[in-house]
Symmetry: C2
């Protein structure tokens, strides 16, 4: 997605080797007009797929999923929860995900009420690197006996192994930008 590459080029910040920050439009401040472009592009990539519901994970995934849902006929969005909260149902699908950013395992939960057997689920997230969050979300969908019809990622770090692992597993993965290397602050994209 050319406009995404341009956005990353003009606003992205590379830190300490392979960390790319896109806080100005995706992860802290949100450019809602640009997210609409992203939503349209996800619809274009998955236009042949029946989507009953979009699943994402808090926090940055929520804006992407909510804006994108508008291009899929306002299907419901469900966001998996990371933190312990008194208010979450006890009856949940749960999986463990290791976060490299936070250097610890965390529990990811979705109430059983909001994923049903046979539903066609599109998983969306902001970044794909090692793929742990995506694999966790797929595990939750599997526990619900629902179907992962696709996995849509805004920015894939192609130099980490998550994308390869997921493609090898057969899931339909669409990344709007794939970065194959970050060297000296310069990004190389996969064609």
């Amino acid at each position: 997605m050319e406009s995404l590459k341009n956005k990353i080029m003009s606003e992205g910040i590379v830190l300490g080797g392979d960390i790319l920050k896109v806080d100005s439009f995706l992860n802290h401040q949100i450019d809602v007009g640009f997210l609409n472009e992203i939503g349209k592009e996800f619809k274009n990539r998955f236009k042949d797929v029946k989507v009953d519901k979009i699943l994402t994970i808090e926090a940055s995934g929520i804006a992407i999923a909510s804006i994108t849902a508008q291009y899929f006929g306002n299907v419901p969005v469900v966001f998996a929860k990371k933190s312990e909260s008194k208010n979450l149902d006890s009856d949940v699908y749960e999986t463990k995900v290791y976060s490299f950013t936070k250097d610890r395992d965390y529990a990811v939960k979705v109430s059983k009420k909001y994923l049903s057997e046979g539903e066609n689920i599109l998983i969306l997230d902001d970044f794909l690197a090692n793929g742990r969050a995506a694999v966790g979300l797929m595990d939750i969908v599997k526990q619900a006996n629902a179907n992962v019809v696709g996995l849509g990622i805004v920015i894939e770090k192609g130099f980490q192994d998550g994308g390869q692992i997921l493609r090898d597993s057969g899931v339909r993965l669409e990344s709007l930008a794939i970065i194959d290397s970050i060297a000296d602050g310069k990004l190389e994209y996969r064609d």
Copy 2:
């Protein structure tokens, strides 16, 4: 907002006295079509106000703020962060907020890059009860020498004191539904 009261009546769940769960459309699963109605209503309530940016707090506020921003000319949304993350700038506005739900203080942070002096900020959030989160967000806006032009809340628990404290402080507060009591699972709304 009549449609919101109807939505709460048909989908809300009252738990343990005064806990109202609206996980089916606001806090876990998101009804994006309905959020568009909420966004339109916020625009209607704040139509005379110049809004440069919308500020909210992760996680549930993100969907509300992002969808609502579309009715304010796609102004940028900034979501305050609760958790410690290696990737957040060190140069932040920070405040402490006590969470009754989680029974602890937590730090709320916004990167200094994304709030600027003189900006007109509309603060949006899902719930208002004791008002601690709203006061924290207002404190962050004040640190940035920006202006809080309004505070928009989807559901206010009018039987807790946050709404009164905020109205007394002079901030323009618009709550789309104000619940004055929850007794025996039945909700009474303020007119």
